[in-house]
Subunit: 284 residues, 4 copies
């Protein structure tokens, strides 16, 4: 579908006429809605929606859509954002020593499973430089110690600005990102190698093995100051048995990690994820 | 949620303004939409939607909703139906000798997993009469032979009319229902004990065993004249191995059959299934 | 298979010749092995095996098998037990107010999915008496309060002895069984309505909803003094989304609970579960 | 585990004493069994087993193991093969235009998920040469037309011999390999992009879309003269919905294909797959 589209993500207090008002705005300006999805959280009294329409034939010029919609959104007390499908987001992938998620995300981007640019890889280890170079991606090696963390986070932030990064993907980056950093750059997706909230923190596969679970999982979530506690975007699981050693859990887990992380990144880039409180609505 | 709702299921040729027109109709009459979901089949040029709103505070009396909406639907060339959540549908369950789906459906209805009455069980065998009686459901034993099939189908149809049945559930009814019968009473959900279109027809578990598959499945679909070829509502699968004999496949399959059939019945009763061509849209 | 079998479950320090010694014992006495499975836990230096052979044609009379095998087992420092397939175990099902696991276990026992007798249901509520009576099972109502727990556990223990119970199944029994009780009667399988170790303790579905997980699970495990921490026998999961309210999680969870509990009970009754440390080997 | 092992795969008519005889052979020569698994197909009267033991401390020199075991196997009428874990098998990967399985297999081999060499890629298209070269693997471009097929298969066979290939992996090779070729080189694993036996033949995703299935799958099997009918090694599935276009099925299917094919290749290389009739026993 080369026809560019606009997507509105809206959340506001539930009330009569919301669907009508939003749909009328698009119809009145000649837009053709191709996807519309909504959800009502009755307990929270919250209405959440995602509407996507074709820009061809839409009478409002792009730069006027936001101000025009704002006139509708403000009386509804709505939080909202608009995205255009032909604006290509820029991703920085952060890794440590493991390469499976890095390879996978690059392969998917090359295969156009999602539309984004990947101009930058940041790592606290030097060894994946060769992978980044293989695909002509800049690689910034920023080792982290107890003493230099603050300083390195300042450099990381500067890199994100210089490279005009929209999204950071922690693709098995085995360092804790500070709450301070996240406050400054909140668009961060992390993959945790367990079925959260089981095995929060370090060495989940070892602990899964010790607990003798029969299923392991992986969880992609937005990073928050509270470690492994951010809004969950996607999870998946795989069956294990007593025959699986820790190294088998690691191997099986890698297949989960790359698929779960890739799905979460794709959903995010297609503007299908709406966060409220510590939860996500995923408009699939 | 004891507040009764109305649900519109609509399919029509895709065009601008559909969401706006339908949402306006409900808003103009004071309705509060609680669920709205849509799908566009671009290849077929078809727009499909399900909209549910609360009847409390809706200004149109029930009997006027259909004619009023028809005035909107006709120029759009729309096929549509309306259902009210407090109209309790009546189900006839058809069985042969196996009781697992029968027990399961009755248990779920008692547990209010779906809202329906089950006044009638029809069978070509006498042995499940005791189950029906245990739950105070009428049991009609109509044995089928090559010679009496036409005659018995006439009786079955009469029973459905007498009992004011809205939906027939073939809960492991091991007889072929004629195309003629289905033409007269098309609201029939069947459970087939394979992952269709694999193993159409008789003895799917035996054939799955012979083929050496590593996963087996079950499929719930609307019955059509073409055996096991009707629109699929729901499917699920379970892993098997060389250790599983045919009888293990049958046992594992039963767990699938009852869950898949129950999900399909529930989705149908909640007016979440829209059939077009030989496909379904399931608005979950 | 009406031919009765004997099953040995053995664990011992790993060493050369174990398979040969055990297989020779059976072969020398004319036994025909129909299933043999083994597992080595290299970290623990432990060899675990399950061997099942036909008793027809076996030259040792039943009462001599245990002493004869003991002569082999003792020098190997082995822990072992022997079971005969035609010894029918007796189960007490413990419930509170929910009936889905109770119904399901009774149905499976009637359908011969596992071979056992169910002579007794114990509950801290009176309301499922009608279900037990429907299937001619004795129902003992033993309400639990803070003050009478010790006293009631004494009665429960007495009932288990009087009814010659081999296995207690906690089929959504919403009371904590004391460590003291478990020490006296350790053969207890519990179903926990979460994907352990996530959501240990009370109200797992509410907490899963609050955490915004995308998958929920159920866990069958042996009861231990440490709540929800016993050796896991079986787990399974189902996908949920933002559309699922807590009540949907409960409904979907029930389907998991009954299947996971039934699988665990069946595996236990077929002597396929070997516990060591806090882990299980499940010889499927 | 750097300690090399020997693995026996045996199938023979079921009879008393098989486990004892085989275990005694290994024990008598000082071997330490680390894995033993067996299966009896009662219908076929067939006993199948896989036994793996450490070579360190085994008294028979490697070249004498086969003749020595043959003396035991012949009276049992057994088919058997022996493999040594430190003999590194050589794989040729055959591809057409899609690169996902090729990338994935190479990545897994580099990550040591299985132990093998990949010296050769054969393709009927030139475009993946760049991938092979990236990893220093020879790439042979052999375009296939109606007229040159026989000739090209002769060249393919010659290449397999020159490169001393043990296993061919058809990693989305979209050409039919002739029965004649397979007769000459039977060690071929294929990935079919459907849940066989559903959608045998061409364009399974298009046909799955048309049929409106709710789950799609992938199947890894040994190639046989009868297309898509060979013994199944591994299958897996993923859920789809009406929202998924054919291109989404293709995308989701790719994730299945690479995981299912990789699992099958790994199981084969670890000598865990025993074929009999058109079925496999997979000793996991």
């Amino acid at each position: 579908m080369t026809n560019p589209t606009a997507t509105l993500l809206i959340s506001c207090p539930d009330q009569r006429g919301l669907v009508a008002k939003i749909a009328n705005f698009i119809y009145a300006n000649g837009g053709n809605i191709i996807h519309a999805d909504q959800h009502t959280d009755f307990a929270a009294g919250l209405f959440l929606t995602r509407i996507e329409w074709q820009l061809n034939g839409f009478n409002l010029p792009r730069e006027l859509i936001a101000p025009a919609f704002n006139a509708i959104a403000q009386p509804l007390n709505a939080k909202w954002e608009i995205r255009f499908s032909d604006t290509v987001p820029r991703i920085a992938i952060w890794v440590s020593r493991q390469d499976h998620c890095l390879f996978d995300l690059i392969w998917r981007q090359r295969a156009k499973e999602f539309i984004a640019e990947i101009p930058l890889v940041i790592s606290n280890h030097p060894n994946l430089k060769v992978v980044a170079e293989q695909f002509n991606i800049d690689y910034q090696y920023l080792p982290i110690t107890k003493d230099n963390k603050l300083e390195q986070e300042a450099k990381q932030l500067e890199l994100l600005q210089n490279y005009k990064i929209d999204l950071v993907v922690l693709a098995k980056y085995m360092q804790i990102v500070s709450g301070d950093f996240i406050a400054k750059f909140p668009q961060i997706i992390n993959i945790h190698h367990s079925f959260l909230p089981a095995f929060v923190g370090a060495n989940p596969y070892h602990r899964a093995f010790e607990r003798g679970v029969k299923i392991i999982g992986a969880t992609a979530h937005y990073a928050t100051a509270d470690l492994d506690a951010g809004p969950i975007i996607e999870q998946d699981v795989v069956r294990v048995s007593h025959r699986d050693e820790v190294e088998d859990l690691v191997r099986k887990g890698k297949d989960l990690e790359r698929v779960v992380l890739a799905r979460a990144v794709r959903l995010h880039l297609q503007n299908r994820v709406l966060v409220y409180g510590n939860r996500t609505v995923v408009f699939e």
